[in-house]
């Protein structure tokens, strides 16, 4: 399905790199490295140069911590979105927020996509996306409250739950007026899930792809990789790329990542093995 993300359209089958840009002092991977606005802006310039099609700007870390109110969240992201929009007109700007009021402000400032990592916790977010002609990411969290860790969460079938919830959310977005080609679904690895759940979602990602909605995966350096390999944050790239390869083979379309170059190479390699992409340049044995 052709994907329209705000101002930008992508051909059938195109795979997209969504680079994480944190305007936070405390996110788990970068630990505040891009907390200062100029550092975050440098990060945007870097990932755009590395070929990221999307930047995902977030003002609140996912894990529990100091409460950040709407005003503070807006202060962190709205003007920054406007600055990125002006400097990088061709990049898709996504904002990682669950709040409709923040979504409204960032869309007015130039955002194309609202990445609701918390599964529709604020029911008006879809109305905001519709009003601005923006796209939306519909995630599965199992209904947990934003910024909480999973605690003894279990599912009869985690993949079934992820499909049912994200597809229902997607249909709700379309009913609210979001264009059908502007809706992406995300099983949300580790959100409301233990490691076994995230592994099963990875193994059975093809079932989500089969819904026909474009699938986003957010695997980058997450705890399910860390627990699987018993490795701390900072040593999870290889495991992340292995999970990425499995999702790519299953047909994921969007990859939310810290490491753009490595993920792009992994996805291109797998897409080419799968016969959905041509080799860049082949002459060996064909001269």
């Amino acid at each position: 399905m052709t994907l329209r993300l705000g101002r930008h359209a992508f051909a059938d089958g195109a795979t997209l790199m969504m680079a994480i840009v944190n305007r936070t002092p405390d996110s788990f991977f970068d630990k505040g490295a891009t907390w200062e606005e100029d550092k975050a802006f440098e990060r945007v310039a870097q990932v755009v140069a590395e070929g990221a099609e999307i930047v995902d700007i977030g003002g609140i870390k996912a894990a529990p911590g100091v409460e950040i109110g709407e005003a503070e969240e807006k202060e962190r992201v709205v003007d920054f979105v406007a600055r990125v929009r002006e400097s990088f007109p061709r990049v898709v700007i996504s904002v990682d927020t669950w709040r409709a009021s923040v979504g409204d402000a960032v869309c007015a400032a130039g955002a194309d996509l609202l990445n609701d990592a918390w599964g529709g916790a604020d029911p008006e977010l879809v109305d905001v996306a519709a009003a601005h002609g923006a796209a939306i990411v519909c995630t599965h969290t199992g209904g947990v409250t934003p910024r909480t860790r999973p605690y003894r969460v279990e599912y009869d079938d985690v993949v079934r739950a992820a499909i049912d919830d994200t597809v229902a959310y997607a249909e709700r977005a379309v009913a609210a007026g979001v264009a059908r080609e502007s809706v992406v679904i995300d099983p949300a690895h580790d959100f409301g899930k233990n490691t076994f759940h995230s592994l099963e979602l990875t193994r059975r990602l093809g079932e989500m792809v089969a819904t026909g909605w474009p699938v986003l995966v957010s695997l980058s350096n997450k705890d399910f990789v860390g627990e699987t390999l018993d490795l701390p944050v900072g040593e999870r790239l290889t495991g992340t790329l292995a999970a990425t390869a499995v999702c790519a083979l299953a047909g994921a379309r969007v990859y939310r990542v810290h490491q753009v170059v490595e993920t792009r190479q992994t996805v291109d390699m797998v897409e080419t093995i799968a016969g959905r992409r041509l080799p860049q340049r082949a002459i060996r044995g064909l001269q």
Partner: protein, 161 residues
Amino acid sequence: MSERTTRVVLVPGVLALLPEYAGIEDPVAELRAAALGAVGWLGREVTVLADAQGARVAAHLLDSTERDGDEPSYLVVGNGSAKRTEKAPGHYDERAEPFDAALGEALKAGRPDVDRELARELWASVEALTELPPAASGATVRVDYDDAPYGVQYWVMRWEG
């Protein structure tokens, strides 16, 4: 009423020209442009002189061009050595360059005189070249391409006579 001339074109049997081996970037873009230009100059009906792989290349080039002339036409598929450099398919052989130079000159004259044993040793695909139609002999020749970009000597030539 003027007599119809015969048109003959030579292209190399490069498999990278085939659509089943296409990449995002074309590693033989210049060769392809030259080959399509020359093949497009042939008449509607074309006799192909080639081995089995070369015939596939010829068929693809013919399918990719629109030709409406009625000149008797031949498409010959062959090339020089594959041992021009260290990285050439057949590795480097110092005899390759003089072999190709001599063969190139003979082709321009339309009278390829090929040492078949040496051609075999140098991995040159010359079978069809030895069947070059007599019309090429002494005909007007145009060289559209003459290079060995991957250690294999390619020519695109056209003769009219």
